[in-house]
Symmetry: C2
Amino acid sequence: MPLSSTLTRIVLAARPQGEPTADNFRLEQVPMPSPGEGQVLLRNHYLSLDPYMRGRMNAGRSYAKPVEIGEVMDGGTVSEVIESRHPDLTPGDMVLAHGGWQTHAIADGRALKRKLDAGIAPLTTALGVYGMPGFTAYVGLHEIGKPQPGETVVVAAASGPVGATVGQIARLQGARTVGIAGGERKRAYLQDELGFDVVLDHRAPDFAAQLRAACPQGIDVYFENVGGAVFDAVLPLLNDFARIPVCGLVAHYNDRALPAGPDRLPMLLSHILTRHLTVRGFIQHDFIQLYPQFLREMGGWLQEGRIKYREDQVDGLENAPAALIGLLKGENFGKVVVKL
Amino acid sequence: MPLSSTLTRIVLAARPQGEPTADNFRLEQVPMPSPGEGQVLLRNHYLSLDPYMRGRMNAGRSYAKPVEIGEVMDGGTVSEVIESRHPDLTPGDMVLAHGGWQTHAIADGRALKRKLDAGIAPLTTALGVYGMPGFTAYVGLHEIGKPQPGETVVVAAASGPVGATVGQIARLQGARTVGIAGGERKRAYLQDELGFDVVLDHRAPDFAAQLRAACPQGIDVYFENVGGAVFDAVLPLLNDFARIPVCGLVAHYNDRALPAGPDRLPMLLSHILTRHLTVRGFIQHDFIQLYPQFLREMGGWLQEGRIKYREDQVDGLENAPAALIGLLKGENFGKVVVKL
C-alpha cells in the first residue's frame, strides 16, 4: 500500500470551560512527515483514551505540561513501524508509542523501548491492563497501598482499567475488595467475573450507608481515582494507618471553581493526623524502575487467566472526542481504545 | 523524709469549649496509694506539657483515648522510684514515666523501660529533645520527610521542642532550613543559636509573601505541627514529590466548627495528585522500633553540642493549667517542663 501523502489528526482547538465539548477538538489533515536520522515513521493502529487527558487540556499545572492550542492531542498508541532510520527498528515492528491522536507519527527510535508480542497478550492490552493503567494499579498497591491479607481495599471507578486491576491484584494478595461502579451491568461483571467481594453503585441515594455496611471492619486501603462524593463517603470509614494512593480525581477534572463551604481542608488534615493516614499522589512513571517486574508478573497473571480485563473499543479517530467526553462521565465500560 | 499521706494532682474537671480555661482543671489531694506486686511508687519531679494534651481533653477520637472527666491529666514525667515491688527497680532510680499531672504515681515496673542517666544529658531532656518531642522530630524526618542535601525544609512552631529539633537535624543532613516562629526573641534564637537559614514570623501581615521569598527553590519538606494559616502559605510552594509529615495541628485543637467555605478539600487532593505529594500523619510511637537508634544518635549529638535545646521551666503543679493554656497560644519559648 503506497504511503498516503497526508496524515489525519485531532488537535486541541480551544480549552474547555468545565466539561469538554466537541468544539474543543478539530480534525485536520496535514502533510505526511518524514523521519530524520534516528527516527521512525509510525502507523498508529490503536489510541488509548484516559482520564488524565482532561488535565492536559487545561492551561494550568497538572501531571505534565498542557497540550497547547493547535497541538495534536497527546495519547498512548499501539503503532507499527512503517519507515525506520533507527538501527534497532524494522518496518513491521509493533511498538508501544506516544503516537497521539493521529493516524501517523514521527518518533525517536530511542523512545520506543517496548516492542509488543501478541503471543503474551493481545496488542491492545499494552494500552490497558498490560500497560499504563495496569502499571498504575500495580505500583499504587506495591508502593503505597500495600494491602495485607484480610484487609479491606476499596476501589473507585472499579470497572475502569485501573480500578479493575487494583481489585484483582488486591484479591490475589488476600485482601477483601469493595468496588464502586455505576449500574447493574458493571456490578454484575465486577462481582461475577472479576471476583470483587462487594460492588456498590455510587449513584445510590444511600451510597454512604451502603459503603459503611460493606466495610464492617473499616477501610485499610482506598485507591483514589475519582474524588467527590466517593471520597467523602470513604473518609469517615478509614482505619488507623490506612493508605490512600491518589492517582486520579476524575470527579474534579471539570471543576471550574472551589465548591461551597464549609472548608473541610482542616478536617482532612485532622483525619490524616489522628488516624495516622498516608495520602500520596503518584503517577505510574514515579516508579518506572518496577516496569520490568510488572511486565513479568502481569504477563504471568494474564497468561494464567488470574487477571481479566475488558475493552470498550471505539472505531475511527473522528469518534475519539465523543468517547473521551463519555469516559469522563463514566459512560465507558472497560478500557477505551480507539481503532484508527 | 517520711512519706506524705496524700498526693496532689490535677484532674480534668470539665471538657473545654474551644480554648481551655482554668475551670477545666481541678487541683485535689487524694490518699497516697501503695504499689502492688510488680509495681512501684514514683515521686514525679518534672512534668512535660505538650500540645497533644489539648486533644485528650476532648471526648472525640484523637491520637489516643480521651482523659475522662475526674481523671488525672495524662503526661510524661521524670520520676524517682521511692518504693519498689519490682525486682529491676530500686528506690533512688530515676526513670521516664507517664506519671501524669500529680506529685506521685503508681506504675507497673515493666512499663518503666528507660532509666535516666544524667551523665549523658540533664534529666529534663528526657521530656524534650532527648525524649518524645525529639523522637517525634527524628522519626518524622527519618521515615517521612527524608530531607536530601540542598533541599528546602520548612518547620512550623520552630522554637518548640519538636520544631527546633527538626530544623537542627535537617541542617545536619545538609538541607536548607526555614523556621517559623512568633516574635524577635525566638527569631534571633533560631537563627543565631540553632543555625536556621531563615526565620519568619507567622504573624507578619505579609507572611505568605515572605515565605515565598524565603523559598526560591520551593519547599521539599514541610514538617506540619501547626496547620492553619501556615499550612495555607506553604501549600502553593510545595515542589513535586514534597513530603509532609503531620504530627500536630495546634492551630486547630481549639476549633469548635469547620471554618467558612469555600471547601478546599478537593483542592488539597488535587495538589496531592498533581504534585505527587506524600502527606502522612504519625505519632512517634508508630516508629518505636527506632527508639534505641534515636537514643544512640541523639545522645551523641547532644554530647558533641551539635543539637541544642531550650527549656521553659514552670514552678509548681498548680501552675500547669496556665502553662498549658499559654503553650497552646505559642506563649512558651522552648520545651515546657513543670517542676513539681
